[in-house]
Amino acid sequence: MITRKTLEEAMYAAMRTASLEMPPDVRAALERALAEEPEEMARQHLEISLRNADLAHQGEGLVCADTGFPLYFVKAGSRTVIEGGYGTLWQAEATATARATQDCYLRPTMVDPLRRSNPGNNLGPGMPKLELQFAGDNDGLEIIAVPKGGGSEIFGTFYRMLFPSDGVTGIKKFVLECIMNSCYAGKICPPALIGVGLGGTADLCMSLAKKAALLRPIGRHNPDPMIADLEAELLAASRELGLGPMGSRGINAVLAVNIDTALTHTAALPVAFNAQCLVGRRWTALIASDNTYTLTGEIA
């Protein structure tokens, strides 16, 4: 049985590490972009960002001071047992988030939307956000902690209800418009990871986009060749806009276009767009049933 204490520790450790370390696939992609960018300003944006991540790694700050929305993506197996039941997950994430905020690994950024009052610990209705999924025949837990920065969320979220008659052309036009709009003046802190959701209901569509942006390792493509081709085509198009890191003149405004799909209504073609910024923060805690856990920057 996985105890509440283990959950709290593992969630705290995953969130803290996500704030201090750039995931290895993201760093590798930024280094490739740095080698490719011809303009001095574009290279400087990348060099300084990589140095900033090095400083965070050495305990001199955070990967980015906007630690944003505290999100946890949890995957349980069919035989996973949790002390106190699954509701404990939500209690543990609150404890872990408040502690990470107290220890300055998270900035107290979450406020009431109307009153703008700040509880000071990132806790309140809906936050931190935890998504629970069941997958596989195992007795462990996978927890991916994501401090999701404001820039990419605020300036990089779009939704449009297209129609079957809009076709794949409409999808391409919409995604390209979103890339232009969000990368202009570096609003989403490019080079960005772009998630696109196709199909489902409005909320499912956006959730697909969000998870495609946040959780898919760079270089992994949709297993459906038709979707993978669309991903490649849109990524190639983004590289011709003349926009690069932080919206400067360059090539790499986008590091990846990740598309995921769900069945949808025969009358509809919903498209959602959600961006993740250049640091792509996410860190995983894998908890075993014997209450040991490991942290990893790799995505299974």
Binding site: S49, E60, A65, G186, G242
Partner: protein, 208 residues
């Protein structure tokens, strides 16, 4: 690289060119949305001498309360364009000559900076941890209790703070507006390649 003393003189500001990289040294104050809204809507702002502390740094720093006083954990410049509704009025009200933030502001703020003889400086890359080391002293904090650590106004003394680049110059020119125009010119060819015809329109469902 030039290091410019704060408060920046009008003469210095007007001599800076678009895209130029520089650092600044001296005193600055911080703020975000709440600073702008309160200063304009409620005429409520920190009681500091804006002639002396004239550089407005758009940031919500991560601050740690230690026995030796406040410590800056990290301070990443935040998206300044969010403040555009109030940008021009704040520049005029405090006669600001130096704004530091993330990437850009709009035409209104650019026009106000042209009047005051000021510039808007943007961060280069993610730099919150480098900048942290260039803050020599946290002098004061205002509105901590009602706004919290992120939205409060902090007074920092900085040394060779940066580098930043001039994203809006004192003539009102905007680095990113020029880039966006270039991107817009490239768009038709990119759309053609994707098979989007110039007369393509999304399905119209509000047909009258």
């Amino acid at each position: 690289m030039k290091d410019i003393a704060l408060p920046m003189s009008e003469k210095t500001a007007r001599a800076l060119s678009l895209g130029e990289c520089l650092t600044v040294s001296g005193m600055l104050f911080t703020g975000r949305s709440r600073f702008h809204i309160r200063a304009v809507e409620e005429d409520l702002y920190p009681p500091i001498d804006y002639k002396k502390i004239n550089c407005f740094f758009h940031v919500g720093p991560v601050m740690k309360d230690t026995p030796d006083g406040w410590e800056v954990v990290s301070c990443e410049p935040t998206s300044s364009i969010r403040f555009e509704r109030y940008g021009a009025e704040v520049v005029r009200k405090f006669r600001l000559r130096t704004l530091i933030g993330k990437t850009t502001m709009g035409a209104g703020t650019a026009a106000a900076l042209r009047e005051t003889g000021g510039v808007y400086l943007s961060k280069i890359g993610l730099s919150g941890n480098t900048l942290r080391g260039q803050i020599k002293k946290v002098h004061n904090v205002f509105f901590l209790d009602d706004l919290g650590k992120t939205e409060a106004t902090w007074i920092y003394e900085v040394e060779k703070f940066g580098p930043f680049f001039v994203a809006i110059d004192a003539q009102g020119r905007n680095y990113f507006a020029e880039l966006a125009a270039d991107a817009a010119r490239k768009l038709p060819a990119i759309e053609r390649k994707l098979g989007i015809s110039p007369d393509y329109n999304y399905t119209e469902v509000d047909a009258k």
